[in-house]
């Protein structure tokens, strides 16, 4: 039973990371099924797992193949990812491993710091959009602005956040 116990701990520690990875790659309606299939494949292929390597990286490899398989079956799906885009997501998540924190959610503290460092109106817009899950039009109505203005603010804020988290990942990466 020890193998299953170890597997369960690894699953719990990597479930948030896998959810975020799949959310980037797939429509929300598909995330649950592909998440389950990825974890089941990992369990069935446990003997193939090189335990010197991070479990999360191995999981993303399986997830990448499952995302591509899902897309082949759902060719009409609006969200589509090619191999290079999936590799970009996988590389970024791998670099996040260097950020401080034991779990993926703890590593996301870096992004929380980036959000707090945004100009006040950008931070407010980002929080309303993602914390309160309001649509841009609803954010605009609440702030008495035009929807286009809010959309532009969101674009600029996200660009700044990506830049900020990329710099933090680079600073945290081990020196080679």
């Amino acid at each position: 039973m020890e193998t299953l116990d170890v597997f369960e701990v690894l699953v719990r520690e990597n479930s948030g990371m896998l959810t975020a990875f799949l959310n980037a790659a797939l429509p929300r309606s598909a995330v649950d099924d592909v998440w389950q299939e990825t974890m089941l494949t990992a369990w069935r292929r446990w003997d193939d797992y090189d335990q010197k390597r991070p479990f999360g990286a191995w999981l993303r490899g399986i997830a990448t193949r499952n995302v591509l398989a899902w897309q082949r079956k759902n060719v009409k799906a609006h969200v589509a990812c090619d191999q290079a885009t999936l590799e970009y997501f996988a590389e970024t998540f791998a670099r996040m491993h260097a950020l401080p924190g034991d779990t993926f959610d703890e590593k996301l503290s870096a992004l929380r710091h980036c959000i707090e460092a945004l100009p006040e109106e950008y931070e407010q817009t980002i929080r309303m959009r993602y914390e309160e899950e309001l649509k841009p039009a609803d954010v605009a109505q609440r702030l008495d602005r035009k929807t286009e203005t809010i959309k532009k603010q969101l674009l600029r804020a996200k660009a700044q956040l990506l830049d900020c988290i990329t710099r933090r990942m680079a600073a945290a990466a081990p020196q080679s």
């Binding site: 959310n23 069935r44 924190g101 980002i126 996200k158 945290a172």
Partner: protein, 301 residues
């Protein structure tokens, strides 16, 4: 356009999708994860894949094919060597089991906790707080960064609450409160569940045990269990664990966790020392036990 030659819009789109997924994870409360994990583990157990894992997987079959007589003889020598040290490992397991049982009783235990965090330029910082545990419930009392008073936080395996020195009280699921509560630092401690530490030590460490005197010299006999992290799996857990327990009751008297600096953990060392078993009010493990009833309570779910 080839697969490796993306347009600017493609690059912008994938960056947008990446940051969107990270923002969703960071700011919105996703309660689905715990349910997904439960469904997965139920399915694995129901499918009886445990048997699959131990008997019929390709790696094991390959191993059996190569297990010729000379290899078997060598393994026998190794097994005989290892068995001489397995008694102490089994005794350590038994002591841990006793301690886990002791954690499952409804007694309240108070521990003084010190956490050492690595600072820049080889410096270290220390944080102290008091931890109260009762089965899977806990309460942490810590001094705020500045000023007098205490911040109280608590919860169980699923929920959390925080009573800051001023302002509203926050109550909610573990994930949601850790994202939204300004004083969440109080909850960032490796010691919220003594039982979980014992369970992890049992699973992930090479164990040994000795009988010795207690650190303060007051007790002549104490069981000291030491655990060195197994080489696998590669997850960030302390490299070294030391647990002092009462040899009869199993009650944990002292825990020391030490992390490997190369693991990039936020902590380098943490200790918890048993202070006693205090009598506490009935509502001590609820937020209401630590604030005025007129205080505003915010549900973060």
């Amino acid at each position: 356009m080839t697969k490796s030659n993306h347009s600017f819009e493609d690059l912008q789109d994938r960056e947008d999708r990446l940051i969107e997924s990270l923002l969703q994870r960071t700011l919105s409360s996703d309660d689905e994860d715990a349910a997904r994990v439960s469904r997965l583990m139920d399915q694995i157990r129901n499918d009886n894949t445990t048997a699959l894992a131990s008997d019929s997987r390709p790696g094991r079959q390959r191993l059996l094919r190569w297990l010729s007589l000379p290899v078997a003889a060598t393994l026998l020598v190794i097994v005989l060597f290892v068995s001489s040290s397995s008694n102490t490992s089994e005794a350590a397991m038994a002591a841990l089991d006793r301690s886990i049982e002791a954690e499952q009783t409804p007694a309240v235990r108070e521990y003084a906790v010190t956490i050492t965090l690595p600072g820049s330029g080889g410096t270290v910082r220390r944080r102290n707080h008091t931890l109260f545990v009762r089965q899977d419930e806990f309460v942490v009392a810590a001094a705020p960064k500045t000023g007098p008073g205490r911040i109280w936080a608590g919860g169980n395996s699923e929920t959390r609450w925080v009573v800051p020195r001023n302002g509203p009280v926050y109550v909610g699921q573990k994930e949601s409160i850790q994202k939204k509560q300004p004083d969440r630092r109080v909850l960032e401690t490796p010691f919220l569940s003594v039982e979980q530490i014992l369970e992890r030590t049992r699973t992930f460490y090479h164990l040994s045990i000795q009988t010795t005197t207690s650190r303060d010299g007051r007790r002549e006999s104490i069981s000291r269990i030491t655990g060195h992290r197994k080489r696998t799996p590669r997850i960030v857990i302390p490299e070294f664990v030391e647990i002092d327990a009462d040899p009869d009751s199993g009650v944990v008297q002292f825990i020391r966790l030490k992390w490997n600096a190369e693991d990039d953990s936020r902590w380098s060392e943490a200790t918890a020392t048993l202070i006693g078993t205090p009598d506490v009010p009935d509502n001590f493990f609820q937020h209401a036990g630590h604030h005025d009833e007129r205080r505003r309570v915010i549900e973060t779910n």
